[in-house]
Protein backbone atom coordinates (compact mmCIF):
# COMPACT_ATOMS: atom_id res chain seq x y z
CA UNK A 1 0.00 0.00 0.00
CA UNK A 2 2.77 2.38 1.02
CA UNK A 3 4.66 1.50 -2.15
CA UNK A 4 1.58 2.25 -4.27
CA UNK A 5 1.10 5.62 -2.53
CA UNK A 6 4.73 6.54 -3.09
CA UNK A 7 4.48 5.48 -6.70
CA UNK A 8 1.43 7.71 -7.21
CA UNK A 9 3.27 10.62 -5.60
CA UNK A 10 6.25 10.03 -7.89
CA UNK A 11 3.94 9.92 -10.88
CA UNK A 12 2.48 13.27 -9.88
CA UNK A 13 5.98 14.77 -9.46
CA UNK A 14 6.98 13.26 -12.79
CA UNK A 15 3.99 14.70 -14.64
CA UNK A 16 4.55 18.10 -13.01
CA UNK A 17 8.18 18.15 -14.18
CA UNK A 18 7.19 17.09 -17.70
CA UNK A 19 4.48 19.77 -17.90
CA UNK A 20 6.86 22.45 -16.61
CA UNK A 21 9.55 21.36 -19.05
CA UNK A 22 7.11 21.38 -21.98
CA UNK A 23 5.78 24.80 -20.96
CA UNK A 24 9.29 26.23 -20.63
CA UNK A 25 10.40 24.71 -23.94
CA UNK A 26 7.38 26.13 -25.76
CA UNK A 27 7.95 29.54 -24.15
CA UNK A 28 11.64 29.37 -25.11
CA UNK A 29 10.78 28.69 -28.75
CA UNK A 30 8.21 31.51 -28.72
CA UNK A 31 10.74 33.89 -27.14
CA UNK A 32 13.42 32.95 -29.70
CA UNK A 33 10.99 33.78 -32.50
CA UNK A 34 10.32 37.18 -30.93
CA UNK A 35 13.96 38.07 -31.44
CA UNK A 36 16.74 37.92 -28.89
CA UNK A 37 18.57 41.05 -30.04
CA UNK A 38 22.15 41.38 -28.84
CA UNK A 39 23.66 41.58 -25.36
CA UNK A 40 24.19 45.36 -25.58
CA UNK A 41 20.73 45.84 -27.08
CA UNK A 42 18.45 43.03 -25.89
CA UNK A 43 15.34 42.33 -27.96
CA UNK A 44 11.80 41.49 -26.76
CA UNK A 45 12.61 37.78 -26.56
CA UNK A 46 15.86 38.16 -24.58
CA UNK A 47 14.54 37.98 -21.01
CA UNK A 48 11.76 35.42 -21.68
CA UNK A 49 14.27 33.22 -23.53
CA UNK A 50 16.77 33.35 -20.66
CA UNK A 51 14.01 32.65 -18.11
CA UNK A 52 12.49 29.83 -20.15
CA UNK A 53 15.89 28.20 -20.68
CA UNK A 54 16.63 28.29 -16.96
CA UNK A 55 13.18 26.93 -16.13
CA UNK A 56 13.49 24.15 -18.71
CA UNK A 57 16.88 23.12 -17.28
CA UNK A 58 15.52 23.11 -13.73
CA UNK A 59 12.42 21.11 -14.76
CA UNK A 60 14.72 18.65 -16.49
CA UNK A 61 16.79 18.43 -13.31
CA UNK A 62 13.65 17.75 -11.30
CA UNK A 63 12.59 15.10 -13.81
CA UNK A 64 15.94 13.34 -13.54
CA UNK A 65 15.76 13.53 -9.76
CA UNK A 66 12.30 11.94 -9.67
CA UNK A 67 13.42 9.14 -12.02
CA UNK A 68 16.81 8.49 -10.37
CA UNK A 69 15.78 8.92 -6.73
CA UNK A 70 12.09 7.99 -6.48
CA UNK A 71 10.28 8.56 -3.22
CA UNK A 72 12.15 11.73 -2.32
CA UNK A 73 9.42 14.03 -3.62
CA UNK A 74 7.44 16.16 -1.22
CA UNK A 75 4.16 15.21 -2.82
CA UNK A 76 3.74 11.88 -0.98
CA UNK A 77 0.03 11.11 -1.09
CA UNK A 78 -0.56 14.55 -2.57
CA UNK A 79 -3.70 13.65 -4.42
CA UNK A 80 -4.96 10.92 -2.08
CA UNK A 81 -7.59 13.27 -0.62
CA UNK A 82 -8.43 15.00 -3.91
CA UNK A 83 -12.10 15.30 -4.78
CA UNK A 84 -11.70 15.72 -8.52
CA UNK A 85 -15.46 15.82 -9.08
CA UNK A 86 -15.82 18.81 -6.76
CA UNK A 87 -12.79 20.54 -8.31
CA UNK A 88 -14.26 20.04 -11.81
CA UNK A 89 -17.72 21.27 -10.78
CA UNK A 90 -16.39 24.38 -9.03
CA UNK A 91 -14.01 25.35 -11.84
CA UNK A 92 -16.56 24.46 -14.51
CA UNK A 93 -19.19 26.57 -12.77
CA UNK A 94 -16.88 29.57 -12.51
CA UNK A 95 -15.84 29.18 -16.15
CA UNK A 96 -19.49 28.81 -17.20
CA UNK A 97 -20.38 31.93 -15.25
CA UNK A 98 -17.73 33.80 -17.23
CA UNK A 99 -19.21 32.49 -20.48
CA UNK A 100 -22.81 33.53 -19.74
CA UNK A 101 -22.01 36.66 -17.70
CA UNK A 102 -22.48 39.13 -20.54
CA UNK A 103 -25.12 37.18 -22.49
CA UNK A 104 -27.49 36.36 -19.62
CA UNK A 105 -26.66 39.34 -17.41
CA UNK A 106 -25.07 39.59 -13.98
CA UNK A 107 -28.18 38.65 -11.99
CA UNK A 108 -29.05 35.48 -13.93
CA UNK A 109 -25.41 34.32 -14.27
CA UNK A 110 -24.61 34.69 -10.58
CA UNK A 111 -27.95 33.15 -9.56
CA UNK A 112 -27.18 30.05 -11.65
CA UNK A 113 -23.64 29.92 -10.27
CA UNK A 114 -24.87 30.05 -6.68
CA UNK A 115 -27.52 27.40 -7.37
CA UNK A 116 -24.80 24.97 -8.49
CA UNK A 117 -22.45 25.86 -5.62
CA UNK A 118 -25.10 25.72 -2.86
CA UNK A 119 -27.09 22.85 -4.34
CA UNK A 120 -24.52 20.54 -5.93
CA UNK A 121 -21.27 21.25 -4.09
CA UNK A 122 -22.54 22.25 -0.63
CA UNK A 123 -25.59 19.94 -0.97
CA UNK A 124 -28.06 22.27 0.67
CA UNK A 125 -31.80 21.53 0.45
CA UNK A 126 -33.38 22.71 -2.82
CA UNK A 127 -35.44 25.46 -1.25
CA UNK A 128 -32.48 26.73 0.80
CA UNK A 129 -30.40 26.68 -2.38
CA UNK A 130 -32.92 28.62 -4.46
CA UNK A 131 -33.70 31.10 -1.71
CA UNK A 132 -30.04 31.77 -0.83
CA UNK A 133 -29.01 32.10 -4.47
CA UNK A 134 -31.90 34.46 -5.26
CA UNK A 135 -31.28 36.60 -2.15
CA UNK A 136 -27.53 36.93 -2.69
CA UNK A 137 -27.89 37.65 -6.43
CA UNK A 138 -30.66 40.19 -5.83
CA UNK A 139 -28.79 41.94 -3.01
CA UNK A 140 -25.64 42.12 -5.12
CA UNK A 141 -27.60 43.46 -8.10
CA UNK A 142 -29.17 46.12 -5.90
CA UNK A 143 -25.80 47.11 -4.42
CA UNK A 144 -24.04 47.19 -7.78
CA UNK A 145 -26.71 49.54 -9.15
CA UNK A 146 -26.55 51.71 -6.05
CA UNK A 147 -22.75 51.96 -6.36
CA UNK A 148 -22.95 52.61 -10.09
CA UNK A 149 -20.94 49.51 -11.03
CA UNK A 150 -21.30 48.87 -14.77
CA UNK A 151 -22.19 45.16 -14.70
CA UNK A 152 -23.90 43.49 -17.69
CA UNK A 153 -27.72 43.41 -17.50
CA UNK A 154 -28.55 40.86 -20.22
CA UNK A 155 -31.80 40.66 -22.23
CA UNK A 156 -33.97 40.56 -19.07
CA UNK A 157 -32.35 43.65 -17.58
CA UNK A 158 -31.09 41.63 -14.61
Amino acid sequence: MEHAGRSRANDAELYASVVLFAFAAAAGVGAYRLGLGSVHNPGPGFMPFATATLLALMALGQLVRVVVAPGRGSGAGAFATSRWGVVAIVLGTLFGTGVVFERAGFGIATFLMLVVLFGVVARKRWWVTLLSAALVAAAARFLSRALGMPLPEGPLGL
Binding site: E13, A31, P48, T51, S74, V90, V121
Partner: protein
Protein backbone atom coordinates in the same frame (compact mmCIF):
# COMPACT_ATOMS: atom_id res chain seq x y z
CA UNK B 1 11.87 66.76 15.01
CA UNK B 2 11.31 66.23 11.30
CA UNK B 3 9.70 62.87 11.96
CA UNK B 4 7.47 64.45 14.60
CA UNK B 5 6.41 67.20 12.22
CA UNK B 6 5.75 64.65 9.49
CA UNK B 7 3.80 62.51 11.92
CA UNK B 8 1.57 65.46 12.75
CA UNK B 9 0.98 65.89 9.03
CA UNK B 10 0.15 62.19 8.82
CA UNK B 11 -2.25 62.35 11.75
CA UNK B 12 -4.00 65.25 10.07
CA UNK B 13 -4.57 63.02 7.05
CA UNK B 14 -5.43 59.85 8.97
CA UNK B 15 -7.92 61.59 11.25
CA UNK B 16 -9.99 63.01 8.39
CA UNK B 17 -13.45 61.42 8.77
CA UNK B 18 -13.33 59.65 5.39
CA UNK B 19 -9.89 58.15 6.07
CA UNK B 20 -10.87 57.22 9.61
CA UNK B 21 -13.87 55.37 8.20
CA UNK B 22 -11.75 53.60 5.57
CA UNK B 23 -9.22 52.62 8.23
CA UNK B 24 -12.04 51.13 10.27
CA UNK B 25 -13.40 49.27 7.23
CA UNK B 26 -9.90 47.92 6.53
CA UNK B 27 -9.19 46.65 10.04
CA UNK B 28 -12.74 45.33 10.41
CA UNK B 29 -12.57 43.38 7.14
CA UNK B 30 -9.03 42.29 8.07
CA UNK B 31 -10.20 40.92 11.41
CA UNK B 32 -13.16 39.27 9.72
CA UNK B 33 -11.09 37.43 7.12
CA UNK B 34 -8.50 36.69 9.79
CA UNK B 35 -11.18 34.97 11.84
CA UNK B 36 -12.70 33.11 8.91
CA UNK B 37 -10.51 30.33 7.60
CA UNK B 38 -10.50 30.02 3.82
CA UNK B 39 -9.69 33.49 2.57
CA UNK B 40 -6.56 35.41 3.42
CA UNK B 41 -5.43 39.04 3.14
CA UNK B 42 -3.97 38.52 -0.36
CA UNK B 43 -7.28 37.35 -1.81
CA UNK B 44 -9.29 39.95 0.07
CA UNK B 45 -7.05 42.84 -0.91
CA UNK B 46 -7.20 41.76 -4.56
CA UNK B 47 -10.95 41.43 -4.30
CA UNK B 48 -11.37 44.91 -2.84
CA UNK B 49 -8.84 46.59 -5.13
CA UNK B 50 -11.49 47.41 -7.77
CA UNK B 51 -13.68 48.91 -5.03
CA UNK B 52 -10.91 51.43 -4.28
CA UNK B 53 -10.88 52.88 -7.81
CA UNK B 54 -13.25 55.66 -6.77
CA UNK B 55 -11.39 56.42 -3.55
CA UNK B 56 -8.49 58.80 -3.04
CA UNK B 57 -5.10 57.03 -3.21
CA UNK B 58 -4.46 57.72 0.50
CA UNK B 59 -7.85 56.32 1.52
CA UNK B 60 -7.41 53.27 -0.69
CA UNK B 61 -3.99 52.39 0.72
CA UNK B 62 -5.11 53.07 4.30
CA UNK B 63 -7.95 50.58 3.82
CA UNK B 64 -5.87 47.93 2.05
CA UNK B 65 -3.08 48.19 4.63
CA UNK B 66 -5.67 47.84 7.41
CA UNK B 67 -6.83 44.56 5.92
CA UNK B 68 -3.32 43.15 6.13
CA UNK B 69 -2.46 44.05 9.69
CA UNK B 70 -6.05 43.49 10.81
CA UNK B 71 -5.87 39.91 9.54
CA UNK B 72 -2.88 39.26 11.82
CA UNK B 73 -5.05 40.15 14.84
CA UNK B 74 -8.06 38.14 13.74
CA UNK B 75 -6.08 35.05 12.75
CA UNK B 76 -5.27 34.24 16.36
CA UNK B 77 -8.93 33.95 17.43
CA UNK B 78 -9.61 30.80 15.44
CA UNK B 79 -6.22 29.35 16.35
CA UNK B 80 -6.96 29.69 20.05
CA UNK B 81 -10.66 28.85 20.15
CA UNK B 82 -11.05 26.24 17.43
CA UNK B 83 -7.49 25.05 16.68
CA UNK B 84 -7.99 26.16 13.06
CA UNK B 85 -5.63 28.99 12.14
CA UNK B 86 -7.55 31.77 10.38
CA UNK B 87 -4.25 32.87 8.85
CA UNK B 88 -1.01 31.06 8.04
CA UNK B 89 0.75 33.47 10.40
CA UNK B 90 -1.30 32.10 13.31
CA UNK B 91 -0.53 28.42 12.77
CA UNK B 92 1.96 28.25 15.62
CA UNK B 93 -0.33 30.24 17.90
CA UNK B 94 -2.69 27.26 17.81
CA UNK B 95 -0.06 24.98 19.40
CA UNK B 96 -0.24 26.61 22.82
CA UNK B 97 -3.27 28.86 22.41
CA UNK B 98 -5.67 25.99 21.83
CA UNK B 99 -4.21 24.04 24.72
CA UNK B 100 -4.72 27.06 26.96
CA UNK B 101 -8.35 27.22 25.79
CA UNK B 102 -8.83 23.54 26.60
CA UNK B 103 -7.57 24.26 30.11
CA UNK B 104 -10.15 27.01 30.50
CA UNK B 105 -7.66 29.83 29.81
CA UNK B 106 -8.98 30.97 26.42
CA UNK B 107 -9.46 34.50 27.80
CA UNK B 108 -5.84 35.18 28.80
CA UNK B 109 -4.65 33.58 25.54
CA UNK B 110 -6.88 35.85 23.45
CA UNK B 111 -5.99 38.85 25.62
CA UNK B 112 -2.27 38.18 25.33
CA UNK B 113 -2.60 37.68 21.57
CA UNK B 114 -4.39 41.03 21.17
CA UNK B 115 -2.11 42.98 23.50
CA UNK B 116 1.05 41.36 22.14
CA UNK B 117 -0.15 42.17 18.64
CA UNK B 118 -0.66 45.77 19.70
CA UNK B 119 2.86 46.06 21.11
CA UNK B 120 4.45 44.36 18.08
CA UNK B 121 2.41 46.41 15.64
CA UNK B 122 3.15 49.71 17.37
CA UNK B 123 6.91 49.09 17.53
CA UNK B 124 6.78 48.06 13.86
CA UNK B 125 5.18 51.38 12.94
CA UNK B 126 7.80 53.35 14.89
CA UNK B 127 10.49 51.44 12.98
CA UNK B 128 8.74 52.23 9.71
CA UNK B 129 8.69 55.93 10.65
CA UNK B 130 12.36 56.02 11.51
CA UNK B 131 13.82 53.76 8.82
CA UNK B 132 11.82 54.41 5.66
CA UNK B 133 13.00 57.98 5.01
CA UNK B 134 16.78 57.37 5.37
CA UNK B 135 16.50 54.18 3.32
CA UNK B 136 14.62 56.02 0.57
CA UNK B 137 17.28 58.76 0.53
CA UNK B 138 20.02 56.16 0.20
CA UNK B 139 18.08 54.44 -2.58
CA UNK B 140 18.03 57.63 -4.64
CA UNK B 141 21.60 56.86 -5.67
CA UNK B 142 20.64 53.41 -6.97
CA UNK B 143 20.82 52.83 -10.73
CA UNK B 144 19.44 49.99 -12.89
CA UNK B 145 22.26 47.53 -11.94
CA UNK B 146 21.58 48.01 -8.21
CA UNK B 147 17.85 47.56 -8.73
CA UNK B 148 18.38 44.47 -10.86
CA UNK B 149 20.68 42.91 -8.27
CA UNK B 150 18.41 43.84 -5.35
CA UNK B 151 15.39 42.33 -7.06
CA UNK B 152 17.29 39.16 -7.92
CA UNK B 153 18.37 38.80 -4.32
CA UNK B 154 14.78 39.48 -3.15
CA UNK B 155 13.50 36.65 -5.29
CA UNK B 156 16.20 34.25 -4.17
CA UNK B 157 15.69 35.11 -0.49
CA UNK B 158 11.96 34.61 -0.96
CA UNK B 159 12.47 31.16 -2.47
CA UNK B 160 15.01 30.38 0.28
CA UNK B 161 12.54 31.27 3.00
CA UNK B 162 9.45 29.81 1.36
CA UNK B 163 7.97 26.70 2.88
CA UNK B 164 8.97 23.53 1.09
CA UNK B 165 11.70 22.96 -1.46
CA UNK B 166 13.81 25.93 -2.55
CA UNK B 167 14.37 24.23 -5.91
CA UNK B 168 10.62 24.15 -6.54
CA UNK B 169 10.23 27.72 -5.30
CA UNK B 170 12.92 28.87 -7.75
CA UNK B 171 11.00 27.14 -10.53
CA UNK B 172 7.75 28.87 -9.58
CA UNK B 173 9.64 32.17 -9.41
CA UNK B 174 10.88 31.62 -12.97
CA UNK B 175 7.35 30.74 -14.01
CA UNK B 176 6.20 34.07 -12.55
CA UNK B 177 8.91 35.92 -14.49
CA UNK B 178 7.81 34.19 -17.70
CA UNK B 179 4.17 35.12 -17.10
CA UNK B 180 5.16 38.73 -16.43
CA UNK B 181 6.53 38.85 -19.98
CA UNK B 182 3.06 38.47 -21.51
CA UNK B 183 1.87 41.69 -23.20
CA UNK B 184 3.53 44.47 -25.15
CA UNK B 185 7.30 44.72 -24.87
CA UNK B 186 7.96 48.01 -23.10
CA UNK B 187 10.99 48.89 -25.27
CA UNK B 188 9.86 47.89 -28.78
CA UNK B 189 6.07 47.63 -28.41
CA UNK B 190 6.13 44.11 -29.89
CA UNK B 191 3.34 41.85 -28.59
CA UNK B 192 4.68 38.90 -26.60
CA UNK B 193 2.72 35.67 -26.02
CA UNK B 194 -0.63 37.41 -26.57
CA UNK B 195 -1.86 34.84 -29.15
CA UNK B 196 -4.02 37.50 -30.77
CA UNK B 197 -6.09 38.04 -27.61
CA UNK B 198 -6.58 41.79 -27.23
CA UNK B 199 -7.10 41.56 -23.49
CA UNK B 200 -3.58 40.14 -23.12
CA UNK B 201 -1.80 43.12 -24.69
CA UNK B 202 -1.72 44.77 -21.26
CA UNK B 203 -0.40 41.53 -19.80
CA UNK B 204 -2.05 39.09 -17.43
CA UNK B 205 -3.85 41.02 -14.71
CA UNK B 206 -2.40 40.79 -11.22
CA UNK B 207 -5.86 40.39 -9.70
CA UNK B 208 -6.96 37.30 -11.69
CA UNK B 209 -3.56 35.75 -11.04
CA UNK B 210 -3.59 36.37 -7.29
CA UNK B 211 -7.29 35.59 -6.85
CA UNK B 212 -6.84 32.34 -8.73
CA UNK B 213 -3.67 31.18 -6.99
CA UNK B 214 -4.57 32.26 -3.47
CA UNK B 215 -8.37 32.48 -3.49
CA UNK B 216 -9.76 29.74 -5.72
CA UNK B 217 -6.80 27.41 -5.16
CA UNK B 218 -7.19 27.64 -1.39
CA UNK B 219 -10.96 27.08 -1.52
CA UNK B 220 -10.51 23.96 -3.65
CA UNK B 221 -8.04 22.67 -1.06
CA UNK B 222 -10.36 23.52 1.84
CA UNK B 223 -13.29 21.70 0.23
CA UNK B 224 -11.38 18.46 0.71
CA UNK B 225 -11.12 18.89 4.43
CA UNK B 226 -13.98 18.20 6.76
CA UNK B 227 -13.55 19.78 10.16
CA UNK B 228 -15.54 19.44 13.31
CA UNK B 229 -15.21 22.53 15.45
CA UNK B 230 -15.39 22.68 19.18
CA UNK B 231 -15.36 26.29 20.20
CA UNK B 232 -14.10 27.22 23.65
CA UNK B 233 -16.19 30.11 24.93
CA UNK B 234 -14.83 32.94 27.02
CA UNK B 235 -16.15 36.03 28.76
CA UNK B 236 -14.90 39.60 28.57
CA UNK B 237 -14.01 39.65 32.24
CA UNK B 238 -11.67 36.71 31.68
CA UNK B 239 -9.75 38.31 28.82
CA UNK B 240 -6.98 40.08 30.67
CA UNK B 241 -3.87 38.02 31.33
CA UNK B 242 -2.80 37.74 34.96
CA UNK B 243 0.29 39.38 36.45
CA UNK B 244 1.96 35.98 36.27
CA UNK B 245 1.17 35.75 32.57
CA UNK B 246 2.71 39.17 31.93
CA UNK B 247 5.81 38.25 33.91
CA UNK B 248 6.23 35.03 31.97
CA UNK B 249 5.64 36.63 28.58
CA UNK B 250 7.45 39.98 28.86
CA UNK B 251 10.71 38.83 27.21
CA UNK B 252 8.77 36.77 24.67
CA UNK B 253 7.06 39.98 23.58
CA UNK B 254 10.39 41.80 23.30
CA UNK B 255 12.03 38.97 21.34
CA UNK B 256 8.95 38.52 19.17
CA UNK B 257 8.95 42.22 18.31
CA UNK B 258 12.64 42.27 17.34
CA UNK B 259 12.42 39.04 15.31
CA UNK B 260 9.22 40.12 13.60
CA UNK B 261 10.55 43.55 12.73
CA UNK B 262 13.76 42.35 11.08
CA UNK B 263 12.19 39.38 9.31
CA UNK B 264 9.43 41.67 8.10
CA UNK B 265 11.91 43.91 6.29
CA UNK B 266 13.66 40.92 4.70
CA UNK B 267 12.40 39.90 1.28
CA UNK B 268 10.29 36.81 1.59
CA UNK B 269 9.96 37.30 5.33
CA UNK B 270 6.72 38.76 6.54
CA UNK B 271 4.23 37.63 9.12
CA UNK B 272 4.22 33.89 8.48
CA UNK B 273 7.93 33.23 8.72
CA UNK B 274 8.43 35.56 11.68
CA UNK B 275 5.75 33.79 13.74
CA UNK B 276 7.44 30.42 13.17
CA UNK B 277 10.91 31.76 13.97
CA UNK B 278 9.70 33.61 17.08
CA UNK B 279 8.06 30.43 18.40
CA UNK B 280 11.17 28.35 17.67
CA UNK B 281 13.43 30.90 19.39
CA UNK B 282 11.11 31.05 22.39
CA UNK B 283 11.18 27.29 22.74
CA UNK B 284 14.98 27.26 22.37
CA UNK B 285 15.61 29.86 25.10
CA UNK B 286 12.92 28.61 27.46
CA UNK B 287 13.82 26.97 30.77
CA UNK B 288 11.03 24.47 30.15
CA UNK B 289 10.94 23.76 26.38
CA UNK B 290 9.15 20.46 27.00
CA UNK B 291 6.05 22.39 28.13
CA UNK B 292 5.69 24.14 24.78
CA UNK B 293 2.64 22.75 23.03
CA UNK B 294 0.84 22.11 26.29
CA UNK B 295 -0.49 25.65 26.77
CA UNK B 296 2.24 28.09 27.84
CA UNK B 297 1.57 31.82 27.44
CA UNK B 298 4.98 32.49 25.83
CA UNK B 299 3.92 30.24 22.94
CA UNK B 300 1.08 32.67 22.23
CA UNK B 301 2.82 35.97 23.02
CA UNK B 302 5.93 35.48 20.86
CA UNK B 303 4.36 34.52 17.50
CA UNK B 304 1.48 36.98 17.83
CA UNK B 305 3.84 39.86 18.62
CA UNK B 306 6.19 38.82 15.82
CA UNK B 307 3.58 38.53 13.09
CA UNK B 308 2.26 42.01 13.77
CA UNK B 309 5.70 43.61 13.98
CA UNK B 310 6.54 41.90 10.67
CA UNK B 311 3.32 43.02 9.02
CA UNK B 312 4.17 46.66 9.74
CA UNK B 313 7.89 46.33 8.95
CA UNK B 314 7.22 44.80 5.53
CA UNK B 315 5.95 48.21 4.40
CA UNK B 316 9.51 49.58 4.69
CA UNK B 317 11.05 48.04 1.52
CA UNK B 318 7.86 48.72 -0.44
CA UNK B 319 7.50 52.37 0.46
CA UNK B 320 11.19 53.28 0.53
CA UNK B 321 12.73 51.12 -2.24
CA UNK B 322 9.69 50.22 -4.30
CA UNK B 323 10.46 46.52 -3.80
CA UNK B 324 7.60 44.49 -2.32
CA UNK B 325 9.08 41.94 0.11
CA UNK B 326 6.10 39.57 0.04
CA UNK B 327 2.92 38.83 -1.92
CA UNK B 328 0.68 41.05 0.21
CA UNK B 329 2.99 43.98 -0.46
CA UNK B 330 3.01 43.00 -4.13
CA UNK B 331 -0.77 43.45 -4.20
CA UNK B 332 -0.38 46.80 -2.45
CA UNK B 333 2.30 47.68 -5.02
CA UNK B 334 -0.30 46.95 -7.72
CA UNK B 335 -2.82 49.10 -5.83
CA UNK B 336 -0.41 52.06 -5.72
CA UNK B 337 0.31 51.75 -9.45
CA UNK B 338 -3.42 51.65 -10.24
CA UNK B 339 -3.77 54.93 -8.36
CA UNK B 340 -0.95 56.48 -10.40
CA UNK B 341 1.66 56.32 -7.65
CA UNK B 342 4.98 54.63 -8.30
CA UNK B 343 6.37 53.09 -5.12
CA UNK B 344 10.06 53.88 -4.73
CA UNK B 345 12.59 56.23 -3.18
CA UNK B 346 10.73 59.31 -4.42
CA UNK B 347 7.39 58.32 -2.91
CA UNK B 348 8.04 59.93 0.48
CA UNK B 349 9.23 63.18 -1.17
CA UNK B 350 6.52 63.37 -3.81
CA UNK B 351 3.60 62.06 -1.77
CA UNK B 352 4.30 62.91 1.89
CA UNK B 353 0.56 62.99 2.59
CA UNK B 354 0.20 59.42 1.43
CA UNK B 355 3.25 58.04 3.23
CA UNK B 356 2.72 59.77 6.56
CA UNK B 357 -1.05 59.42 6.31
CA UNK B 358 -0.73 55.66 5.94
CA UNK B 359 1.83 55.44 8.77
CA UNK B 360 -0.37 57.49 11.10
CA UNK B 361 -3.42 55.44 10.14
CA UNK B 362 -1.59 52.35 11.32
CA UNK B 363 -1.37 53.80 14.84
CA UNK B 364 -5.08 54.59 14.69
CA UNK B 365 -5.83 51.18 13.19
CA UNK B 366 -3.92 49.38 15.94
CA UNK B 367 -6.01 51.11 18.59
CA UNK B 368 -9.18 50.23 16.65
CA UNK B 369 -8.04 46.62 16.46
CA UNK B 370 -7.52 46.44 20.19
CA UNK B 371 -11.10 47.62 20.68
CA UNK B 372 -12.40 45.24 18.00
CA UNK B 373 -10.55 42.22 19.29
CA UNK B 374 -11.06 42.49 23.03
CA UNK B 375 -14.59 43.70 23.81
CA UNK B 376 -16.10 42.32 20.60
CA UNK B 377 -14.58 38.87 20.82
CA UNK B 378 -18.06 37.36 21.28
CA UNK B 379 -19.13 38.51 17.81
CA UNK B 380 -16.10 36.92 16.17
CA UNK B 381 -16.72 33.70 18.07
CA UNK B 382 -20.28 33.65 16.75
CA UNK B 383 -18.95 34.10 13.23
CA UNK B 384 -16.95 30.94 13.66
CA UNK B 385 -20.23 29.05 13.78
CA UNK B 386 -21.01 29.95 10.16
CA UNK B 387 -20.39 26.67 8.31
CA UNK B 388 -17.80 26.65 5.51
CA UNK B 389 -20.33 25.30 3.01
CA UNK B 390 -22.23 28.57 3.39
CA UNK B 391 -19.10 30.70 3.18
CA UNK B 392 -17.33 29.25 0.17
CA UNK B 393 -20.09 29.91 -2.41
CA UNK B 394 -20.17 33.52 -1.22
CA UNK B 395 -16.38 33.86 -1.44
CA UNK B 396 -16.42 32.40 -4.97
CA UNK B 397 -19.26 34.76 -5.87
CA UNK B 398 -17.22 37.78 -4.73
CA UNK B 399 -14.16 36.44 -6.58
CA UNK B 400 -16.04 36.29 -9.90
CA UNK B 401 -17.69 39.69 -9.46
CA UNK B 402 -14.46 41.29 -8.19
CA UNK B 403 -12.30 39.96 -11.00
CA UNK B 404 -14.82 40.79 -13.72
CA UNK B 405 -15.40 44.33 -12.50
CA UNK B 406 -11.71 45.34 -12.72
CA UNK B 407 -11.76 45.55 -16.54
CA UNK B 408 -15.28 44.32 -17.32
CA UNK B 409 -13.56 41.40 -18.99
CA UNK B 410 -14.61 37.77 -19.24
CA UNK B 411 -11.02 36.86 -20.09
CA UNK B 412 -10.02 37.86 -16.56
CA UNK B 413 -12.58 35.40 -15.17
CA UNK B 414 -11.17 32.63 -17.39
CA UNK B 415 -7.65 33.50 -16.29
CA UNK B 416 -8.70 33.39 -12.65
CA UNK B 417 -10.23 29.93 -13.14
CA UNK B 418 -7.06 28.71 -14.88
CA UNK B 419 -4.81 30.08 -12.13
CA UNK B 420 -7.17 28.61 -9.55
CA UNK B 421 -6.51 25.16 -10.97
CA UNK B 422 -2.77 25.87 -11.16
CA UNK B 423 -2.84 27.07 -7.54
CA UNK B 424 -4.63 23.90 -6.44
CA UNK B 425 -2.11 21.67 -8.21
CA UNK B 426 0.81 23.69 -6.81
CA UNK B 427 -0.59 23.35 -3.30
CA UNK B 428 -0.87 19.58 -3.77
CA UNK B 429 2.60 19.16 -5.24
CA UNK B 430 4.39 21.38 -2.73
CA UNK B 431 5.13 24.28 -5.09
CA UNK B 432 4.80 27.55 -3.14
CA UNK B 433 2.67 30.09 -5.05
CA UNK B 434 4.18 33.14 -3.32
CA UNK B 435 7.42 33.25 -5.40
CA UNK B 436 5.31 33.06 -8.57
CA UNK B 437 3.17 36.04 -7.60
CA UNK B 438 6.11 38.13 -6.38
CA UNK B 439 8.23 37.32 -9.45
CA UNK B 440 5.25 38.23 -11.59
CA UNK B 441 5.08 41.68 -9.98
CA UNK B 442 8.84 42.25 -10.02
CA UNK B 443 9.26 40.83 -13.56
CA UNK B 444 8.70 44.01 -15.60
CA UNK B 445 10.92 46.12 -13.29
CA UNK B 446 13.58 43.41 -13.31
CA UNK B 447 13.56 43.20 -17.10
CA UNK B 448 13.72 46.99 -17.51
CA UNK B 449 16.62 47.18 -15.06
CA UNK B 450 18.45 44.34 -16.85
CA UNK B 451 18.05 45.82 -20.29
CA UNK B 452 18.98 49.34 -19.14
CA UNK B 453 22.03 47.96 -17.31
CA UNK B 454 23.21 46.06 -20.38
CA UNK B 455 22.68 49.13 -22.55
CA UNK B 456 24.68 51.21 -20.02
CA UNK B 457 27.56 48.75 -19.96
CA UNK B 458 27.54 48.10 -23.72
CA UNK B 459 26.60 44.51 -23.11
CA UNK B 460 28.99 43.71 -20.26
CA UNK B 461 27.61 41.68 -17.35
CA UNK B 462 30.54 42.95 -15.29
CA UNK B 463 28.39 45.97 -14.39
CA UNK B 464 26.61 43.76 -11.82
CA UNK B 465 29.89 42.84 -10.14
CA UNK B 466 31.82 46.08 -10.17
CA UNK B 467 29.36 48.39 -8.43
CA UNK B 468 29.42 47.81 -4.63
CA UNK B 469 25.70 47.43 -3.85
CA UNK B 470 25.02 45.29 -6.91
CA UNK B 471 28.10 43.15 -6.23
CA UNK B 472 27.15 42.67 -2.55
CA UNK B 473 23.62 41.64 -3.56
CA UNK B 474 24.98 39.19 -6.12
CA UNK B 475 27.32 37.76 -3.47
CA UNK B 476 24.42 37.25 -1.04
CA UNK B 477 22.47 35.54 -3.80
CA UNK B 478 25.39 33.25 -4.65
CA UNK B 479 25.87 32.31 -0.98
CA UNK B 480 22.18 31.47 -0.57
CA UNK B 481 22.09 29.32 -3.67
CA UNK B 482 25.35 27.58 -2.69
CA UNK B 483 24.02 26.95 0.83
CA UNK B 484 20.92 25.36 -0.61
CA UNK B 485 22.91 23.15 -2.99
CA UNK B 486 25.16 21.98 -0.15
CA UNK B 487 22.16 21.24 2.07
CA UNK B 488 20.45 19.30 -0.75
CA UNK B 489 23.60 17.26 -1.39
CA UNK B 490 23.91 16.45 2.33
CA UNK B 491 20.27 15.40 2.48
CA UNK B 492 20.70 13.02 -0.44
CA UNK B 493 23.75 11.27 1.06
Amino acid sequence: MDALHSMMLGLGVALQPANLFLCFVGVFVGTLIGVLPGIGPVGTMSLLLPATFHLSPVGAIIMLAGIYYGAQYGGSTTSILVNIPGEASSIVTALDGYQMARKGRAGPALGMAALGSFVGGTVGIVGLMLLASPLAEAALSFGPPEYFALMCVSLVVLTFLSQGSMYKSLMTGLLGLLLSGVGLDMFTGAPRFTFGVNELTDGIGLIPLVMGLFGIGEILGNLEQSTTRQIYETRLGELLPTAGDWLAAKWSIVRGTVIGFFLGILPGGGAVLSSFVAYAVEKRVSKYPERFGTGVIEGVAAPETANNAAAQASFIPLLSLGIPPNVVMAVLFGGLLIHGITPGPLLIQQHPNLFWGVVASMFVGNVMLLALNLPLIGIWVRLLRVPYDVLFPLILFFCVVGVYSVNNSRVDVYLMVAFGFVGYLMQKLGYAPAPLALAYVLGPILETALRQSLALSAGSFAIFFTRPIAAASMAVMAVLIAAQIVSELRRHR
